[in-house]
């Protein structure tokens, strides 16, 4: 399976988080998955400005020629994309959210109503399955996790995908790799 991990940890001093992803990457590679681990905080990444040029002027191409192209290519070539970020004020980091917003070029402006609720058609006709890895904050409670999971689940619906798992970094990486193998 082709797997991408988007590391949305903004803080290079947060080693626990990065270490978890690196050891997961090692295990998954041993299992013969093709892996790319992208460090968003090291990339040049503009915020989406909502111009919609990627839909109506230069279809599929964003006005900003920055590192988002690597992320989009990786997204499009993967069977599984793992969105990884520490929780910050109850949600994924602004860094990861920025990358999420910039996924717009992979969908079309046209609306698909076949599921009984609006979403856009996909420009490339397919979407990877999503996995979510997070690190709880000191005050994270079950309400936060339910809100966080629900928002990612909503986004996966919009993106013609599904959330296969939501796991904290404390979860064993061996166990997670077995779960991925069963997918």
């Amino acid at each position: 399976m082709k797997i991408s991990i988007f590391n949305g940890n903004p803080d290079c001093n947060n080693q626990d988080f990065d270490n978890c992803l690196s050891s997961l990457a090692v295990i998954l590679e041993k299992e013969k998955h093709e892996l790319s681990l992208l460090q968003l905080r090291e990339m040049e990444y503009h915020h989406c400005i909502g111009c919609l040029d990627c839909w109506v002027k230069t279809p599929g191409i964003c006005v900003f020629k920055d590192d988002h192209v690597k992320v989009l290519r990786s997204f499009l070539s993967s069977d599984l994309v793992i969105f990884a970020s520490p929780l910050i004020v109850g949600f994924s980091s602004a860094l990861l959210k920025k990358a999420q917003d910039r996924l717009l070029p992979v969908i079309l402006p046209y609306i698909d109503v076949s599921t009984g609720e609006c979403r856009h058609y996909l420009r490339y006709g397919k979407a990877p399955v999503f996995g979510i890895i997070y690190q709880p904050e000191e005050d994270t409670d079950s309400e936060d996790l339910s809100i966080f999971t629900e928002l990612w689940t909503r986004f996966s619906r919009n993106a013609h995908s599904k959330v296969a798992f939501v796991r904290p970094i404390q979860h064993s990486v061996q166990e997670l790799s077995r779960e991925i193998a069963r997918m």
Binding site: I49, Y110, I111
Partner: protein, 216 residues
């Protein structure tokens, strides 16, 4: 009363968010003792200014468009920047105005729980979230299509001035329905394609390229 308005649209001054805020503020300022300050979160400087103003504010409104079923990245960046100043915040009351490109209320429904929790996290009193859908076309739509919504928003602003609250009943009226009938959805699929996206693509000379897949 002074209201601090944080416009969280990446489009800033040319946003649909601004169009929705305008009647609300008109309603709020019918009482001449009321004023507002608007800060735009779509630049580094704007977010800095917003933090400074937030620390002094007692009544706050954050407005933003739905981006990938949640808040835009710039709004998340702003929220994260509030944490270090949390202890300096006054006793404040806070409300939100959110809106989605899609028409059904179901899209904006889920982020409301986050905003409620966020308000409590920051130690503020949560007044509520006004939400509406189908806003992407709002600039080009004829007045008869948008008038009702804009009037409701004006009343909402007026009620805030009078009662200090966001009116629940009116929130529900503005959302209309969480889900639409199949036939309505089908109609909006066709309408948005032929009346909105295709003319825009043609105007840009990009119609032939609309299904391009430049990344593979």
């Amino acid at each position: 009363m002074k209201l601090l308005v944080c416009n969280g649209s990446p489009r800033g001054r040319t946003s649909n968010t601004d169009i929705l805020l305008k009647p609300f503020l008109e309603g709020f300022e019918e009482d001449s003792q009321n004023t507002h300050e608007t800060v735009y979160l779509n630049s580094e400087d704007g977010r800095k200014q917003a933090i400074t103003s937030f620390v002094q504010a007692e009544l706050i409104l954050i407005g933003f468009p739905l981006y990938t079923d949640a808040m835009p990245g710039i709004v998340k960046e702003f929220i994260e920047a509030l944490v270090p100043v949390k202890k300096e915040l006054k006793q404040f009351r806070i409300m939100f105005l959110i809106h989605s490109g899609f028409s059904e209320g179901s899209h904006t429904k889920y982020i409301v729980r986050y905003l409620d929790k966020l308000s409590r996290r920051l130690g503020g009193t949560y007044l509520g979230t006004i939400r509406t859908g189908g806003t992407e076309g709002i600039k080009v739509q004829p007045a008869f299509m948008t008038q009702k919504l804009l009037t409701q928003l004006k009343i909402m602003g007026r009620l805030l001035a009078q009662t200090g609250k966001i009116d629940e009943t009116l929130i529900n009226k503005i959302v209309q329905r969480e889900r639409f009938w199949k036939i309505e959805l089908f109609f909006s699929e066709i309408m948005s394609e032929y009346m909105f996206w295709n003319p825009w693509l043609k105007k840009n000379g990009a119609f032939e390229k609309r299904f391009d897949k430049p990344l593979i």
